[in-house]
């Protein structure tokens, strides 16, 4: 198993390097540079040129890349010209918000997916299954952003059960109970909206996984031993079907990232996704590249996590 994990890490390292190169190249292609925001017609162009030289902006690209990587490793992701502050500081609070939103979404996703998937797979082709399958059909056909819009319209504006923007009520004091409740209140509608749509994937996957496992020979062996129907399900079918779901966990992160862009944008929830959208609309490119880099690393680590989970729970990989 250790060999597997170490070998897997050997794949991860070049992925991160490749990602950084891609993000760096993207940054290079973007119009303007670190000084563009400061351009003021009153400043002598020669002084700007000197400044450029000093910042290393005239160096060949690989030297610039090296400088960029080194400073990124030290936690320096550049300056946001819009907010006039270091990107790292800007990102911190947003990252925390997005983390909570993602966590809530994941929890709701699995809370929905596991019981529905199991019911649907176990009682396939019954009325219950047809209702659940109908839900997955509709879920698959509904783009997240439309669903989120409708939810916002309905529960935010029409019924006014939930706030329609922000991550916490203004004026709440950090750490107080009302602060926590307000946070939850802000986060619930976006999280539910996202979870209801993203979960259909897992429901359908679990369903077909269970139907598949049901037809395996070792299930007949279990029945022939005298195992009752519930035992066959709990000990044999679920154990074997939930394994790929568990392994899928890390990959969910990649999916969530796309979702947060839409959901945070629609609910004006101040997380990384909204930051990304604001920055790209305002052409605040150092922030854009940082967000892409961070999300890229997050999904690389997610994929790594998935494979490690798989290697931990599947004896066919574990014992090698």
């Amino acid at each position: 198993m250790w060999k597997f994990i170490v070998r897997r890490l050997f794949i991860t390292a070049p992925q991160i390097v490749l990602l950084s190169v891609l993000v760096f190249l993207m940054a290079q292609m973007m119009p303007g540079d670190a000084l563009s925001g400061l351009i003021d017609p009153n400043i002598d162009p020669q002084a700007i040129e000197q400044q450029r030289e000093k910042l290393g902006l005239n160096n060949p690209w690989y030297v610039q890349y090296k400088d960029w990587v080194v400073s990124a490793l030290q936690g320096d992701l550049g300056q946001s010209f819009r907010f006039k502050m270091p990107v790292t500081d800007l990102v911190e609070q947003r990252l925390i918000n997005t983390f909570w939103l993602s966590l809530a979404t994941l929890i709701i996703t699995y809370l929905i997916a596991i019981p529905l998937g199991i019911t649907s797979g176990r009682f396939n082709d019954t009325l219950r299954d047809q209702i659940i399958t109908g839900y997955t059909y509709i879920g698959f056909a509904t783009p997240l952003f439309i669903f989120a819009l409708v939810m916002l319209w309905l529960f935010g504006f029409h019924f006014q059960w939930f706030p329609t923007s922000g991550s916490v009520a203004p004026g709440s004091e950090a750490g107080s109970l009302s602060y926590v409740i307000s946070k939850l209140h802000h986060l619930l509608l976006p999280a539910i909206s996202m979870a209801l749509i993203t979960t259909v994937n897992t429901v359908q996957y679990l369903r077909s996984e269970i139907i598949d496992t049901k037809q395996k020979d070792f299930i007949i062996t279990a029945r022939a031993k005298g195992a009752s129907e519930s035992r066959v399900y709990n000990r044999h079918i679920l154990r074997n079907s939930l394994l790929p779901i568990a392994a899928f966990f890390g990959y969910e992160i990649t999916g969530l990232i796309g979702g947060t862009v839409f959901v945070e944008f629609i609910y004006s929830y101040p997380g990384m996704g909204l930051l990304f959208m604001d920055s790209i609309l305002q052409r605040d490119y150092s922030v854009v590249t940082s967000v892409v880099l961070l999300f890229g690393i997050a999904s690389i680590l997610g994929a790594l996590l998935s494979d490690i989970i798989l290697s931990l729970i599947d004896p066919r990989i574990r014992i090698k």
């Binding site: 007949i220 031993k225 005298g226 195992a227 154990r239 066919r316």
Partner: protein, 341 residues
Amino acid sequence: MILLINQILNVSNLTTSFRIKDDYYAAVDNVSLQVFKNEVLAIVGESGSGKSALAFSIMGLHTRAKMEGNIYFKGEDLVNLSPAKINKMRGKDMAMIFQDPLTALNPLMTIGEQIGEALLLHNKAITKKSRYEQVIKLLQLVGIARPKYTYNQFPHELSGGMRQRVIIAIAISNSPELLIADEPTTALDVTIQAQILDLIRELKNEMQAGIILITHDLGVVAEMADRIAVMYAGEMVEVADVHTLFENPLHPYTRSLLNSVPNSKQKQDRLHVIQGVVPSLQNLPRTGCRFAHRIPWVTETAHEKMPQMHEVEPQHYVRCTCYKHFDFLEKNKEDHKHGIS
């Protein structure tokens, strides 16, 4: 003469049908058979003959089949027994060995867990320690060299022969009275096959169990069986004890089968060929002699309209009267004339 008191299983007029599209088709059609203590009853037939469907019917493992008739076992009729009661008997009083040792074990559970489960299911009070000891004992019994090591192994770490031993260990864990072995050696090499068959035979003698051995391999039958039931197209066509059947096979299908195997004893240039193919479930002839279309040179009048099992000599049963008119020589002459390949 076998005493009735030794009878452990009595299947009478069993019909098992599967639903295809909107109709039911009988894969096992009006089959009756008995199994006695400490005997091996071999059920022989080619693929599609219904022999595995019969085994699954007895074990109650069909999930979506319609079963009619009776299966008497331990004073109960399995056909009408509730699932919970069948569960109590399955794995305890009757057990099964499967064909493919590669897929019949749960890939995520250790060997020890899987055998232990069989013990636990029929003895809830068993302590962990005694369960472990019993599993080790079972592993030793089926000839696993390092039982304590194998206890913690997973199926993918074992060879095919070893896995089949584990499956046998599961089957015999509760000393069943009836053991059904469904093509237990088809997936194995000959030398392993010989070992597994020896093992099954030894275990039978030890446990005094009745064994139903399902196979298409006549060599295996000749070595293992006490009695033989030949199945064709869902029906029993001939039942007899092993010596009678090999010395005096009567039904044309039985005779054809025996003659189509390369025989190590007598020199044959050509093997006997049965014309045509086993019809699929939906296309089984449902009236008259089901084998008739494969022996077209036997006249129609030679067959019965409603073929019955006839006891031609004590304990030797043959279906349909066409056996009286079936002649290999005639068939061969025909072939010769037309240069059949």
